[in-house]
C-alpha cells in the first residue's frame, strides 16, 4: 500500500535553504516523489534597470547578481562590451583580472565549505572556512575598497593598479590557505560520516548531464572534463598551467572532491599570475560615459564561476544605453530543472546538502 503523499514546503524562511527561494516537496514517508522550485523572491528586474542606465552605470548593478562571487559577472559584462566594441585590454589588466577571478573563486569555495558542512551539521567547518574567507576579503578591500562588491573589472581593463606590496600579501595569504586546507581535509574529507552522508546522494547522470545544461564543477563531478577556462579560454588562462580535476560518480562526494582540488588549483594559478605579471598600463580609457555609444549588434561572453558557466548577453542599438542585457547564471539551470530531477527519490534529510552541492544561488535565477 502506498503511503499518502504530504507536501512539505522548504522555504522561503528555512535555515536549510540557500538564499531566498522555496522548494515544494511531495513526500511519501522520507522519500521525495516530486519537487518543484519556486523562485521570484529576489526579482529586482536588473536587466530592465540596466536599460535605463548608460553602459557604465549599468556596470554598477552587476555585482548584485550573485553576491557570493560577483567578479565573474563583472568579467562577463566587461568582456562582452569589449567584444562588441573591439576594445583591446592591456596585458597587465588581463593578469590582474585573472588574479581577481581566482581570489573570488577561492572566497566562494570557502563559503561553499561552510554551506555544505552546515547543511550536514558540521558547524566547525563553516566557522573556520568563513572566518578564513575574511583574509581573502581583506585583499579585496585593499585592492578595490569593497569587501563584497568590488566593481573592479570594468570595460577596458581594471579600475586600479595593485598597491605596493600587494603581491607579497597575496602570496602570504596563499601560504596560509595551503596550511589551512590540510586542516579542512582532516575535518571534512577524512570524516567517515561525511563520506557516508555524501556518497551516492544527489546523483547527476553522466550521459544526460551535457544535454541537461549541467556546467562547472557539477559536470566535472560527473567525470566530464569541461571548463570554460580551457575550452573557450579568456584573458590569459591559456598561458597558465593548471589542471581541471574530474571525478566519476556524479554524487555530492565527487563534486566535493572536485571543488577541493579546484581550490588548490586556484592557489597554483594565483602564484603563477603573480610571477608572470608584466608591468604596463592597466586601463584602456573609455570615452565620457554619457556619450559612450556602443556599435549596433550583440555579444555574448561567458566565464567560469564556482557554480559553473555564467554569461552575459548584451544587445546594443547603437545608443549610449543598452538595448537589452541578459545574464545567464548557472543556477538558472541547476536550481530549477536539474534540482527538480535530482531531488526525486532523494531523502528529505539530504535536500539541503544537495542544494548546496549544486551551487544553488537564487539571485542569479530571477535577477
Amino acid at each position: 500500500m502506498r503511503e499518502k503523499a504530504t507536501t512539505l514546503y522548504l522555504g522561503p524562511q528555512h535555515p536549510g535553504i540557500t538564499g531566498n527561494m522555496m522548494v515544494r516537496l511531495k513526500v511519501e514517508g522520507d522519500t521525495i516523489v516530486k519537487a518543484t522550485t519556486e523562485v521570484g523572491y529576489l526579482h529586482r528586474a536588473f536587466e530592465k534597470l540596466q536599460e535605463r542606465r548608460n553602459w557604465l552605470q549599468a556596470f554598477t548593478l552587476l555585482c548584485r547578481f550573485c553576491v557570493p562571487e560577483p567578479d565573474p559577472v563583472e568579467e562577463s559584462y566587461a568582456r562582452a562590451v569589449e567584444l562588441l566594441e573591439g576594445r583591446e585590454v592591456p596585458e597587465r589588466a588581463k593578469y590582474i583580472r585573472v588574479l581577481m577571478l581566482e581570489l573570488a573563486r577561492m572566497g566562494a569555495y570557502m563559503l561553499w565549505y561552510g554551506g555544505q558542512n552546515g547543511s550536514l551539521g558540521l558547524y566547525t567547518m563553516g566557522q573556520w572556512s568563513v572566518g578564513d574567507r575574511n583574509y581573502i576579503l581583506d585583499l579585496f578591500e585593499e585592492l578595490t575598497g569593497g569587501r563584497v562588491y568590488h566593481m573592479y573589472i570594468w570595460p577596458g581593463g581594471v579600475r586600479r593598479d595593485l598597491p605596493e606590496g600587494f603581491a607579497d600579501k597575496v602570496l602570504r595569504t596563499m601560504d596560509y590557505f595551503e596550511k589551512r586546507l590540510k586542516d579542512y581535509d582532516d575535518l571534512m574529507f577524512d570524516n567517515t560520516i561525511f563520506q557516508k552522508r555524501t556518497q551516492g546522494i544527489g546523483i547527476v547522470p553522466k550521459e544526460k548531464a551535457v544535454e541537461w545544461g549541467v556546467v562547472g564543477p557539477i559536470l566535472r563531478g560527473c567525470g566530464i572534463k569541461s571548463d570554460i577556462r580551457i575550452d573557450d579560454p579568456y584573458e590569459v588562462y591559456d598561458k597558465l598551467d593548471f589542471v581541471v580535476p574530474t571525478h566519476e560518480g556524479g554524487d555530492i562526494w565527487s563534486r566535493a572532491l572536485v571543488r577541493r582540488e579546484e581550490v588548490r588549483q586556484s592557489i597554483r594559478i594565483i602564484r603563477q599570475v603573480i610571477e608572470k605579471m608584466p608591468s604596463g598600463e592597466i586601463y584602456n580609457k573609455i570615452p565620457n560615459p554619457h556619450k559612450w555609444a556602443l556599435p549596433k549588434g550583440d555579444a555574448y561572453a561567458r566565464t567560469e564561476a564556482v557554480r559553473g558557466e555564467v554569461g552575459m548577453y548584451i544587445v546594443s542599438d547603437g545608443s549610449t544605453h543598452p538595448r537589452r542585457t541578459h545574464f545567464r547564471g548557472a543556477a538558472y539551470v541547476h536550481a530549477i530543472t536539474l534540482l527538480e530531477k535530482v531531488l526525486v527519490g532523494a531523502n528529505v534529510a539530504d535536500v539541503s546538502a544537495i542544494m548546496n552541492s549544486l551551487g544553488t544561488c537564487p539571485p542569479e535565477i530571477e535577477r
Binding site: R52, E211, G213, D231, Y300
Partner: protein
Amino acid sequence: MMKELKEHIIRRVKANFTEAEENNDFTYDRLDFTVKKEVVPSLLLFLKEEMGFKHLSHASCVDWLEEGELELVFILWSPKDKIKVFVRTRLDRDNPVMDNMDNIWPQLHTYEREFREMFGVQFTGLEAPDEFILEDWQGPPPFRRDFDTAAYAEKTFWHRPGREDAQDVRETIANRDGEDIPDFAKKYSR
C-alpha cells in the same frame, strides 16, 4: 582552421535549411543564423543531434519596439568543435506565438516560462503555471520596452523624500517637511 570549420557548418546547415541566413562576419568563434520562427525547432534539433551543439548556453529575448518585433536568440555551444552558434528569429510583437521546445533541452522550459511572463511570448504547448517570478502581477509584461518601470515605481511605492536631486543628502533629510507620515511613524522614519 576556425574558418574552415565555420564554412563546414554553414554548408551543412544550408543544405538542410535553405532559407537560413548566415552571418559570418565575426573574427572570433561565433556564427549567426537567422531563420523564420517555424524552422527554429527543427534547426535547433538538427544542430543538437547532427552537428554536436549539445550545450544550450543561453537563450534570450530582445524587444525591438520601433520595428514592432520581438527577437528570440538561442546561443549554442559545441563542446566538440569549441564554437558558438547563434540562432535568431523574429516574432510579431503584437501576437508573439512560438512552438514549445522544452523537449529539445529541458532547461528551455525555464527560459520559456520567463519569456512568457516577462515579454508575453506565448509558447503553444508549454505546460507550466502562469506565474514564475512575479506574483499577482496586473500590469503588462514588464520587460517590454513600452513598460516604464520608473513611472510604475513612482506610482506604486512610497518614496522617501530627499533623493530627487543630487544635493547634499544630509541637508535634504534635515530640511524634510511636509511629508505625509503620521506622527507615530515619524519616530521610525528618521
